[in-house]
């Protein structure tokens, strides 16, 4: 009888953000669909009511079905049978429940059977599903690939593939190969054309999440003789056509519910998605941004699970005659977990709103010409989404790992045993800072916005907002942190060496991350002090110390010492 939506006031708070009015109006094209579709909203209030009701359903499925199955799914894992994947029993049950609840194709247009909801409820769903079972969220969350089909495939392809997604067929994105992990330019899987024009795929893909999904997007080399990203195209592979087998399922540390596959394509029939040669340059970037936001949601969900497990154990476990939560060392750990969780979540939904605004306007731009003002808005949000996505993925996944670590620590010796969920959470958390681009690669994606000032401009925008009197001391700290950052960044720039910026990149991005999350949290604390004031205080204290630490490292750093870090 658990409900992961109704028990989570933070989610309900983020759903009520003022920008939602604009986001939903754009997504609903000013509420013009209710004549055509009996489940389309009549107006903003109606749409929000629907969002809440749908989130309530997801919360219930997560609390009553997915979470109780998580332990067995972790133990059983998927099965490799005759070149195919058979999911763990609990995974099948979860998928069936989500399909019956109509929760595939949440963001897809209604004309293809989707719910046409904005990214916010979709990401909230991912947040809740991850809390319930971090492995399962991958199988379900790959519906996000359909967004890429929706954006770039032909109308005929959309009509054939999207309704199937909405009815519950699962997807996969086949990018990685044995020799092409972070470096996707090296993808070798070959796409060739028969005389009649039919495309055929030949080669191997590795580490493919849900690789045996019904519909796959495959990155392949369509231009013979090329060696870089410009020779790659995106293909839609339909499992019904055959030609692909699963060679093995990886034996992983965590997220056991998510089958990670090695795939062999032998003359597999496929269709080109979008234009040739734009596979990596354009479509993978779109896929990746969606996937990274998804991993940020997964990280927040896992952090939430870690927080829930930690607090429940600390309240029930007694030592020295009292519950261990009453010991300052334990309660401080829990406060830190909560602060990092609230900070992660506020960053996640800020980023999602940026993505939402940009994506909706972009979709509208395919239907009609945007007004100059709209175009300007779209570009601004596009830039913010580009900047905030790697920041959110990087920061929330690192926090999720820290939170899982502390959660085990709070459980003491019991946390090291398999008896408690924290052990699974700890293993599941580990992948979040690795896949869909490691934290180090998120920093690479973010650094452009450090040097061009996207983050700092946004911080200035936050600084100019109105906040409650109660958060004034934190605001003062954030202003000081910003000044310290600017001073530190100036020192890095003064060296006039791009390599030197790269060297300090992670430190700079983290400093900005702390400041941004600090501002977002004091905004939340101004609106809902009961929910967020403590976290704001704890987080800004922590962020202040972290920013000072990085500033000191950079400020005292002798550029000549760089070599000592490079020689190994």
């Amino acid at each position: 009888m658990a409900n992961f939506y109704t028990d989570n006031k933070a989610l309900q708070y983020h759903l009520r953000h003022p920008l939602m009015k604009q986001i939903v109006a754009l997504r609903e094209r000013d509420y013009t669909q209710s004549e055509k579709f009996d489940y389309a909203p009549l107006d903003f209030e109606d749409a929000m009511d629907s969002y809440e009701r749908v989130l309530d359903i997801i919360g219930e499925v997560c609390g009553d079905i997915i979470a109780p199955n998580a332990k067995d799914v972790d133990l059983e894992g998927p099965h490799h049978e005759n070149g195919r994947v058979r999911y763990a029993k609990g995974t099948e049950v979860n998928l069936k429940a989500l399909n019956q609840a109509g929760l595939m194709g949440i963001t897809l247009p209604r004309q293809y059977g989707g719910l046409n909801m904005s990214s916010i409820p979709y990401i909230m769903a991912a947040d809740m599903v991850s809390r319930a079972d971090a492995g399962f969220v991958n199988v379900w969350g790959l519906q996000d690939c359909a967004e890429t089909i929706n954006e770039f495939a032909s109308e005929d392809q959309k009509q054939r593939f999207l309704p199937r997604t909405c009815k519950g067929e699962t997807l996969a994105m086949d990018l990685t190969e044995p020799d092409a992990g972070s470096d996707l330019q090296s993808v070798m899987l070959k796409a060739t054309q028969d005389e009649d024009g039919t495309w055929r795929l030949n080669g191997v893909k590795r580490f493919i999440t849900n690789g045996d999904g019904d519909i796959s997007l495959v990155l392949a080399r369509s231009e013979e003789g090329t060696r870089d990203g410009r020779g790659l195209s995106m293909f839609i592979y339909d499992k019904r056509d055959g030609g692909m087998t699963v060679r093995r399922i990886e034996d992983k540390m965590g997220i056991h519910g998510s089958p990670t596959c090695e795939l062999v394509f032998k003359n597999a029939k496929a269709e080109l998605c979008g234009d040739r040669k734009l596979g990596l340059i354009k479509y993978v970037m779109s896929l990746m941004n969606g996937a990274r936001l998804g991993i940020a949601a997964q990280s927040v969900g896992v952090s939430e699970a870690a927080y829930q497990e930690a607090i429940a154990y600390a309240r029930s476990r007694e030592q020295f005659g009292k519950a261990i939560i009453n010991f300052p060392a334990v309660s401080e750990m829990i406060a830190n977990i909560k602060a990092k969780l609230d900070a992660s979540r506020t960053l996640l939904y800020e980023c999602t709103r940026f993505v939402d605004m940009y994506k909706s306007l972009e979709a509208i731009s395919r239907e009609r010409t945007l007004a100059p003002e709209e175009r300007k808005t779209m570009k601004a949000y596009n830039r913010l989404a580009d900047a905030f996505t790697p920041l959110a993925k990087g920061m929330t996944s690192e926090f999720c790992n820290q939170n899982a670590y502390d959660c085990v620590q709070i459980h003491g010796g019991s946390g090291f045993m398999r008896d408690y969920a924290c052990e699974r959470i700890y293993r599941d958390a580990r992948i979040t800072s690795i896949y869909e681009g490691t934290t180090q690669l998120q920093v690479v994606a973010a650094i452009r916005h450090v040097t061009t000032g996207t983050y700092l401009n946004q911080i200035k925008e936050y600084a100019a907002r109105e906040y409650s009197e109660a958060v004034a001391p934190m605001r003062a700290k954030l202003e000081a942190m910003t000044a310290l950052y600017e001073e530190t960044f100036a020192k890095v720039q003064a060296v006039e060496d791009p390599e030197y910026i790269t060297f300090h990149a992670r430190r700079l991005v983290e400093m900005l991350g702390h400041i941004i999350m600090g501002y977002l949290l004091i905004g939340d604390a101004s609106n809902e002090p009961d929910l967020f004031m403590d976290s704001a205080k704890v987080y800004v204290n922590m962020g202040e110390a972290e920013v000072a630490r990085h500033a000191r490292f950079i400020g005292n750093f002798n550029p000549a010492d760089q070599a000592a870090y490079m020689r190994q």
Binding site: M1, D38, P41, V54, I57, Q100, A101, G102, L103, L115
Partner: protein, 290 residues
Amino acid sequence: MGLRIIVLAKQVPDTRNVGKDAMKEDGTINRAALPAIFNPEDLNALEQALQLKDAHPGSTITLLTMGLPRSAEMVRESLYRGGDDGVVLTDRPLGGADTLATSYSLAQAIRHMGEFDIIVGGRQAIDGDTAQVGPQIAEKLGLPQVTYAESIQVADGKATIKRRIERGFETVECPLPLVVTVNGSADACRPRNARLIQKYKYAVTPSEKAALPADRQALVDARPYLAIKEWGVKEIEADPEQIGMPGSPTKVKTIVNVAFQAKEARRIDAAADAELEGLVKELIADHIIG
């Protein structure tokens, strides 16, 4: 061919997680302290109906519930999962009914609902735990009944039903139409559906509609599927002597809170047959067993 299915369901106070304030001083249920929920085994019954509908495209599911006007929520819960329409039987004279009057009222309603192939309901409701209403309806309508069902298959005008019995299950076959009561061990009910909840969230009974603002009333008028039927004594042509309090021979004199506690312990010699026999006889005499 599609089946016409009637699902019987009751809105009940959630007695599963009762607190100290669950009962009033006078021994009656404090309904205000307990949230009103879909009776759990009726949800199992609804799931059976939905599975029949999945297996027999073109089937329709009509939910029938008797209770306060707010029981319309029960119909909406069914619509959100794939039900087609519903009837709320609500009228002041129907109140205070025991199982006899309840089954009479529901049977009268069913007689006014047209042709049907199968009636499914939960085994029992968690507020009364009688398990009598389903079987009584079958008797009143002169239909065969199968109780404790775990799954229902229909083919060639016959239903094949797996029913839970002590230490196992049995499979029975029964001609249509019939009444089936479903056990809590049957499949759990599926979740509400995201599209259907958006489609049907404004479904209302006439009395609920009257309380809506004009624009929402217009919406209900424009979308006939949003109308939930609301029937009273008149619509079901009930005999006033057989409904509500007059129709209920069961009179509750008092309700007491029973707190189980161990009062005394006795040791008996397990090897001595006479002592064991004495214990069994004593337990039978006290109506504890037998």
